[in-house]
Symmetry: C3
Subunit: 140 residues, 3 copies
């Protein structure tokens, strides 16, 4: 059961692709069939599998979540109590709750069985740079 | 580690149940205990486990997501940039991000440990018919 | 492949932590490396991994989902058809669809590889008390 932790340095809200790192991890494991589990060790960043063809998709996704969950400084969000870590913190927790903390991706022929347009992304929800840890676990 | 890919022909937005196909796959594997992973190979369709008793639940779910994320032709959605694949495309990506790309379901006694009312659904987010591929992976 | 079912007695909408029960299950299994899958057997309660430091985060999360998906008795929700199980029932299904039915958490050194602030929660979406079943499955 190979495991590794990869670190992604983020520079504000948005999607950061790590498909290549996962592909390499699977190939180097020498395992042909199995299940890759991806797990993010944070509560203000999350995981997404999304289209990796048009960069506008990434921009529109980030924009949607920003409109659905504005900063706690926004007049519509005055009900938020947890504000002491900044106006982007509680919205970050909410956006993480609305997306994924873990993904399970079947492996066949030593490759992730992704569809043609699917890429793996870390979804950073905080404004400032962070170092985000993602666990990759390759099991049966 | 048995694996299979099932294909679902969709006819527009909505929920398409495939619980029986998963039940059959598990039973035919001859595996009594393990983990079934379900993975959808698309970024404009997703997965849900929901109530399979009242068809109105399916209708209300589809309606909710349609109201939360209207077509990009809607006046409230003019901020969407990725429009070249049609007004239902970027909303489809957003709805997929809000739901699941993979599910993990424990197996016991050669059956999925679903609750009484739980059924497995493909959630189609595009208007036109599509052929959607779902990977079923039965591991340890 | 150890499996167990834990039951959580809920007392209305909100987040109920069960990190300790999962920690104990992993430790008692004697398995050092593997994958813990958590699965909730309901369609009106769901799973979340969230910050367990400040209780206000739990309150704000519950409040957000209550505002995003008001009861079907709310004037803005008159389009809901499935109302016969009470005004909190269809919103409960929607909130469950927006969060997780299953989680996959890698195990290393006989411990869940959670981040510092991550805790496991059942997210109850119904108003009345319920007994909720969660399956814990520890595999390879």
């Amino acid at each position: 059961m190979p495991q590794t932790v990869i670190t992604i340095a983020t520079r504000g809200q948005g999607l950061y692709e790590f498909t290549d790192a996962a592909t390499d991890f699977v190939r180097q494991s020498g395992i042909a069939e199995g299940l890759l589990t991806v797990f993010v060790r944070h509560t203000s960043a999350s995981l997404l599998i999304q289209e990796n063809a048009d960069p506008d998709v990434k921009r529109d996704l980030t924009e949607f979540f920003g409109r659905l969950v504005p900063p706690s400084s926004d007049p519509t969000m005055r009900w938020i109590v947890h504000t002491q870590e900044g106006p982007d913190d509680m919205p970050a927790h909410i956006k993480a709750a609305l997306t994924q903390v873990s993904l399970g991706i079947p492996i066949s022929d030593a490759r992730m069985m992704l569809g043609t347009w699917q890429g793996l992304y870390l979804f950073e929800h905080r404004d400032r740079p962070h170092r985000r840890e993602i666990v990759l676990h390759l099991g049966a």
